[in-house]
Each structure stands twice: as C-alpha cells, then as structure tokens.
C-alpha cells in the first residue's frame, strides 16, 4: 500500500497528521472431543485502523476493507468523528523514539511451519490422556495458534514493524464422583511447539478437577490464605486500572495521591514488563508508537508511579511510559515480582489456612473504584502444611490494598499461561457456612 497517497490526501483535506496501523494475521483453532476433531477453524485476516488530527481533535476510523480505494472514506470519517469532539485535551501523532528494544523470539517460524497434523495429534493426545483417567465425565482439548504481522506508519515519518506468534494448548476435565462434579482446566502458552507437553497438561487439568471432588463451603471467618497463580493473576488483572494515569487524572483510581507512599508490604513489587517471554502482549512499542519499557510500579511496597500515554503524560509534564493502547492507558504484562520460595514451600509453611485456586466473577464482584471485592472461590483448607478439605461455593472478600499490605510472601516462579506467581496473605474473609 502506498501510504504517501493517504498522507497527501489527508493534508489536502486539512488533517494535520495521520497514523495508520495494518494488521495481517492468520489463526488456527483445533477442538477435540471424544477423540475426534469436533471443530477445526482457520482464518486469514487483515484490518486497518487510522486516526488523525483535525482542527486539534483526534478522529478515529477502522475497517476490514484494506485497500487504497478506501483512502477517501478514511479521511472523511476521521474529519467527521474529530468534528464532534469537545474535549480540550491535547492530542498527538508521535514522530518516534530513537531506540526500540528488540524482543527476541516473538515470532517463531517453526511454529507456523509445523504441520497441522502434528497439532491435531497433540490435541488428540491431550484429550485421550484425560479421557482415560478415572471418573472423567467429560473431556476436551484445544489448540489455538495465532500469527500476526503489523505495521504502523504516520505522516511524521514513523515506521514500525512488529510480528509475533503464539500457541496455546488447553485441557479440560470434568470429573464426576460421589454425586459431585468438578471442572479442571489447564493452559500452556508458548511459540515453541516442542514445549507443549500433552502428558503434563492432561495430568494438571485432571488433577485440578479430581482434587476438588467433595468440595463444600467452610465456616465463615478470616483465614490466612495462599492465592495460587491463577487467583493472583485474576486479582491483579481486575484492579490493573488503578495504575493508569488516566484513571488517576479522572479521579477514578484508589492510588491517587499515593506516589512514594507505602501501599503494600515490603515483599510486594509490581512490575509492568513489556518484554516478557511467551506473552502475546509483549511489544517494543505501544499503539501511539512510543517505545515501551520495564517499570516497577510498586517497589518493596512503595508506589513509584503510574503508567502513561502521550496525553496523560503531557498533563503532568512527564514522559509517556509507552502504555498508550486504544484511546487510553493499559499495562502490558502486569505481575507481582516473584520472591524466593516455591508455592509448595509456602503451602508447607502454613499451619492453618486456605489455598485459593480460582476466583470467579471479577467482572461483577469487584469494585475498581473502592478496591473492594467479593469473589466466588474454590480451593482447599490447609492444615499443618498440607491440603485437606476441598472448598467451593464460598466468597472471598477483602480490599485490594489490604491484600497488598497483607502479602507475607510471593512464590518464586511466574506460572506460564497466567504470568503470575502465587502469594501468601495474612488474612481474607471467607463467607461460607
């Protein structure tokens, strides 16, 4: 595509600057049920999204009709949508940074070239392993793969390219026994096909379901708790908007005015890591074309700052942190920095408490404005360092800042697929019986 034509047309029509992003991708999804490929899906796709500054306002238009013949419509729509904006916030099209980090291994040609038959065989193998276990009422396995190439160009001379691919293998086991039924689910993400281990995945999925058989509510009270990787990831993701400078400026973040203050225990460090391996989100530039960087937003319990895009940075006279996505700010890979002990060591060290293995309902049971949450949980009681009674149909409530303050320890590994460690906290309230 000859972008100069678009840039010239835009200029002629009074658009000061314009930026275009084109994505070209393909995907593969395989689903196996009952040892047959019950669904197989392939796609080839391209899309174009454009934004431009007209009379000082930003207008947006995106389309899947990717063709030079659309240029006049793109220009017209940008003007139309910019024309209605009354916000006086300054808007930007960025000329680019001097240096962009090179992220190794984001695109693995070998994954894309691996024969589809091998991918089907892997998915079949995962489902077979699960199906052959005891008391499995339902089993399913999935393989999802995405390959994407994108380019970003703008009338200020910016020209960036990015490519990446990732495969995800999933095992699902519904275990039925003693009039109870429990679902186990496990996922592994990588772009190295050899790392997808059918046996490990199916064991994990099955064990997650089987170990919860007989789960029931427990006494309502405060418990010492360990949140496993999945539960910790859910909490961090649910409340991630509190680190957004946009939310702070709009008075919608509970962290407003707390920079340099202690907001967590000394073992709590929270990072936004754009260069994390085996994450589809990893990128060396944001959607405004700004170079991304590794940041410790909370260091040893102290809030160090927020994430910024060009607009919010300008308002405070600071630099963008490379977190401009969509029309706002978003973290790239936000996680609690791992500590020293393994998750199992944390469990072994707990005399009495609860291990929380999943938290559900975060889209409704959590209030990002206040930090309060009340989420449905499953897990296990822990007694003398061992998992005992499985637990379900309880809610776990606290406030995210209380959780931060009460973190006693962080486990030593980021678990693949969730990109999170496990944490131990002094107390959560559990509502059950």
């Amino acid at each position: 595509m000859e972008f100069k034509k678009l840039f010239d047309l835009a200029k002629k029509e009074g658009i000061e600057d314009i930026q275009v992003v084109i994505n070209n991708g393909d995907s593969l999804q395989i689903e196996v049920f009952n040892q047959t490929v019950s669904s197989l899906q392939i796609s080839r796709q391209s899309s174009l999204s454009a934004k431009g500054i007209y009379q000082g306002k930003m207008g947006y238009y995106s389309t899947e009709v990717v063709s030079e013949s659309e240029f006049p419509l793109i220009v017209e729509k940008i003007k139309e949508n910019a024309g209605i904006i009354t916000s006086t916030d300054e808007v930007f099209i960025y000329a680019g940074d001097e240096h962009y980090e090179k992220i190794e291994g984001q695109f693995n040609e070998e994954l894309k070239n691996t024969d589809i038959k091998e991918k089907i065989n892997l998915t079949l193998a995962i489902e077979k392993n699960i199906k052959e276990k005891e008391n499995v009422g339902y089993s399913e396995a999935d393989y999802n793969e995405e390959n994407n190439k994108m380019i970003m160009v703008n009338s200020k001379g910016l020209e960036l390219k990015d490519e990446g691919n990732l495969a995800e293998a999933v095992g699902v086991a519904v275990v039925r026994k003693d009039n109870d039924s429990r679902t186990g689910f496990e996922v592994v993400m990588t772009n190295d096909f050899k790392k997808l281990d059918a046996k490990m995945l199916s064991e994990e999925a099955y064990n997650k379901g089987a170990s919860l058989i007989g789960a029931k509510p427990v006494e309502s009270k405060q418990y010492k708790a360990i949140l496993n990787e999945e539960a910790t990831a859910t909490l961090v993701r649910t409340f991630s908007s509190m680190f957004s400078s946009e939310m702070v400026q709009k008075n919608l973040s509970i962290l407003k005015g707390k920079v340099k203050e202690v907001i967590g225990s000394p073992v709590l460090t929270i990072v936004d890591d754009p260069f994390l391996k085996e994450s589809f989100s990893s990128t060396s530039f944001d959607s405004e074309g700004v170079a991304t960087k590794y940041k410790e937003l909370v260091k040893d319990g102290v809030l160090t700052g927020f994430i910024y895009n060009l607009k919010t940075a300008k308002k405070e006279g600071v630099k963008s942190t490379g977190n401009g996505f969509g029309s706002g700010c978003a973290p790239i890979n936000l996680y609690i920095k791992p500590g020293d002990k393994t998750k199992e060591e944390l469990i072994q060290g707990l005399d009495e408490g609860i291990l929380i293995t999943s938290l559900q309902g975060s889209h409704s049971g959590a209030n990002p404005l206040s930090g309060d949450f009340s989420l449905q949980a499953t897990g296990f009681l822990i007694k003398d360092g061992k998992r005992t009674q499985p637990v379900a149909l309880v809610t776990v409530s606290s406030n995210i800042l209380n959780i931060f303050k009460d973190v006693v320890a962080v486990s030593s590994e980021l678990k693949n697929g969730y990109n999170s460690p496990a944490i131990e906290v002094k107390k959560v309230s559990v509502a059950g019986l």
Partner: protein, 463 residues
C-alpha cells in the same frame, strides 16, 4: 449484495466436493459507532467496520470452519478447498440456491447511518446532565452512545439463501457518587434492536442518567452486606440474570450435547419448583436479543424451556441437533463471521407468576431484597454460579429495611431452580452482552420478582 449468488454456489460446490453433507456461507458487513462523553465533554467518537466471510463445512456433527475478509472468488475458493480437504466421503446432493429471502419482522425507521454525530451527542448529554444534576454527591459520570448495523447473508447447501439486517441502538451510563473518602457507582444500559427512533418514547436518556445516579447514591450510603445463607427476593428485569447464568447456559446444546451440563438427560423431568416456567423468545418485536433469522438462516422462534417446573426443551443449533437427535430450535447465533455459530440464548425470561411483592416479603424474618443485579458467571458442568447485587436492601420482619452494598449471590443452578418458591407478576427485560464460545452477542435477561427460599449471600460484614 455482499457476494454474488453464482460465487456463493461455486463456493458451496467446492466445499462439498469431498463429501460434506453441510455447507454454510455466512457473509457479513457491520458498521458500528460509539461516542463517549466524560465529564461533560465528548472524549471519543469512533466508527468501525468489519466485513468478512465465514465458511462452515461439516459431515455429521463435526465441522471445520474458516473465515477471511478477502471477498474475491479465488480467496473464497481457496478457503473452501482447504476446509474440504478434511473430508473424504461419497458426494451428497447440492440444492441450487433459492431466491434471496429477507427478514422483515423487526422494522427500523431511522438507520444509524442517517443520524449525525450531533444528534447522538445530544442524547448522551441528556443522560450525562441528568446524572450530574441528581445530587451534589455525583462526582463523575460517563455516558456512551452505541449503535451497530449488521448485514448478513447466509447461503446453505440445501438451497436456503437468506438475508438479514440487525440494527442495535443503546446507551450506557455510569455515575460515581463520592463523599470524599469512599466512592460507589451505579449504571443503566438500556438498548433495543431498532434505530434512532428508540429515543422517541422507548429509551429515555434522562431517566437512565437519573437511575444510574440514584443507584450510586444508594450504594454510597449503604452499609456492608452481611454474609450467610438467607431467603432472597430478586426483583424483575435484569434480575433475570440469575436464570440466564444459573440455568440458561446449561440448557444450551453447546453444553447439553456433550453431556457437560447438569440438565443433560433431564428432558421431561422436573427441574424446578412448579411455580417456574421459562421461555427463550427470539421473536419479541425489536427486542435487544431478537432477530428475524438466526445466524444459521432459520426463522427465529419462541421456545418454551420450562413448563411449570418440567424441562420441555433445550436450545439447539443445527449441528448439535444432529448430535442430540432432537429438532433444531433456531438457536444458532454468533458475534460475527469470526465465529462459528452455536446454540445461544436470545430473550430469556421467567414467565409471569401469581405473587405480589407483599406476599413474598411476608414471613421473611431476615433476608435480602436484591432490587438490581449485576453480571455473573457460571461453570456449566457443575452449575455453580455467582453474581453481584448492584442494589440491595435487607429484609427485616417482612419489611424492606436498610440498603446494603457489596453483596454477591453464590449458589448452584439446579438447586436454586428448586428453591424459587414464589414468582411475581411484573415481568420485565434487561439488556446484556452475553459472552460464550461463539462470541459476545446481545441478549435480554428477564423475570418478574422471584423469591428464593435460601441462597448463600457473600458480603463483607459479619451476620
């Protein structure tokens, strides 16, 4: 026309060339608009268009699916060729495509494409201003106008050739109330499957703005909800999310056909108290979850799911109908051409009963009155669910007492259905976007007020 009839036929022929007995071409062109007002200023205005083709090829109940947004014949035939490579069976009959049939039940008067940004802005500003003016304690409000127009063409190997157009218009308003220390929010998100005429007497943006603000204020002055098991009255409208989550998803063939649902194998058995009847009706005129044809090209229907406590029907799409050996109920839906369709809900609600709110309150010594519900989720294998109470009050000695916040309802679908012991008369519907395997689609939930004899309430304070 998105794709010429002759090209559709060639694509079907190519797809069926290795013995498939089911071929479906789904072409789509969708334009959507969104305009957002924050703090009284128009912050963003966006338009986007998706346009592509999804091709589904099946033999028996197993299928392959592919999609592309390249409309040229060569690309479509290449996709057909890739997909058909999976099969090897004797050739089946292909019926030439009928004349194109167009859905005409749900009428649209003012198409979004004919509405200016100024008109949309006026609507959201009304909602915004009403929310802000409600109280000094309202510190922030965000109002969004949303519309999209989806044009689809569906062509099938058995000769069906269908066109449908769905127009959706909605506003979403949220308000934040704050006393300097604490903040709480409220929201209202009404929508219909119709054009801009919806603002001429059906959706009142000012009423929505006030409602969002009212909820936020109530929550700001509410105390933490106690936890424990108690009787709960869930009021009408969006309260139906309980049935949607706890029961509706488990009645979708997606879960039932594979035995992954608690209601699998329970057809014609009692699954609920005899005061409970429930329907899924995709034909309600211009309702948020309605359409003329479903996404497999079948005329939408009204489905009775539970008749006085007895399970009488699941919601079944075409391929799951083959798997289950039960008739298809025209329940195939999908977000876009990027998803293969599967069985989904449309406008799902508990039917009118005989009780009044007073009847229900009588005899409850201590319980919860959930006036407004938030979203929730469910594990279809077990039926375990949770959902948030957006506006709640305690019930003390048969009377509605003080407001409480932060409550969630946790339970099990199969169990709660049997514990609904009273059903009211005030059926209403509430709009939501339902996410599942075939993407995010507009659905209505609904019910009259219902009483659940006992359910676990999760809250932040001790009982």
């Amino acid at each position: 026309m998105l794709i010429q009839k002759e090209i559709m036929e060639e694509v079907i022929k190519k797809s069926a060339s290795t013995g498939a007995d089911f071929v479906e071409v789904f072409a789509e062109d969708t334009v959507s608009h969104q305009l957002t007002v924050i703090g009284g200023q128009v912050e963003t205005a966006k338009e986007s268009r998706i346009r592509g083709v999804g091709l589904r090829v099946a033999l028996g109940a197993d299928y392959v699916y592919g999609y592309t947004n390249n409309f040229d014949k060569e690309s479509l035939l290449a996709l057909a060729s890739d997909l058909s490579a999976t099969f090897s069976a004797p050739l089946k009959e292909i019926v030439p495509l009928n004349e194109l049939k167009k859905g005409e039940h749900h009428k649209v008067k003012i198409y979004p494409k004919d509405v200016t940004n100024e008109m949309k802005k006026d609507i959201v500003m009304k909602a915004y201003n009403a929310a802000k003016a409600y109280s000094d304690e309202i510190t922030q409000s965000v109002a969004t106008y949303i519309d999209w127009t989806q044009k689809v063409e569906i062509a099938k190997m058995d000769g069906r050739f269908i066109e449908d157009e769905r127009v959706y218009t909605r506003i979403a308003i949220s308000a934040v109330a704050s006393n300097g220390k604490e903040s709480e929010s409220g929201s209202d998100n009404p929508g219909m499957s119709m054009g801009f005429e919806v603002f001429d007497g059906i959706i009142d943006p000012e009423k929505s703005g006030k409602e969002a603000a009212r909820q936020a204020i109530v929550n700001l002055h509410a105390k933490d909800c106690p936890s424990g098991e108690m009787p709960v009255i869930i009021d009408n409208g969006f309260g139906g999310v309980i049935f949607h989550e706890a029961c509706g998803h488990a009645l979708e063939a997606t879960a039932v056909a594979r035995g992954a649902s608690v209601f699998a194998g329970k057809l014609h058995e009692r699954i609920a108290h005899d005061c409970v009847s429930a329907l899924d009706d995709g034909t309600i005129e211009n309702a948020w979850g309605s359409e003329n044809y479903d996404d497999e090209g079948n005329l939408q229907k009204k489905r009775l799911l539970i008749d006085k406590g007895i399970l009488v029907s699941y919601m079944i799409d075409e391929l799951n109908s083959r798997r289950m050996n039960l008739p298809c109920t025209s329940s195939g839906r999908r977000e876009s051409y990027k998803y293969a369709p599967t069985s989904r809900m449309s406008n799902t609600y508990i039917a009118e009963g005989e009780s009044t709110l007073e009847d229900m309150l009588k005899g409850i010594k201590f319980g919860l009155y959930a006036k407004n519900m938030g979203g929730g989720s469910v594990d279809p294998a077990t039926g375990d669910f949770n959902f948030a109470v957006r506006e709640g009050y305690l019930i003390r000695d048969g009377k509605i007492a003080e407001a409480v916040k932060g409550a969630s309802l946790v339970g099990n679908g199969a169990v709660i259905l049997k514990n609904i012991d009273m059903v009211g008369k005030n059926v209403d519907l509430g709009q939501g976007m339902c996410g599942s395997v075939s993407g995010s689609i507009p659905t209505n939930v609904g019910q009259p007020a219902i009483r659940v004899s006992k359910i676990t309430v999760g809250g932040r304070s001790a009982k």
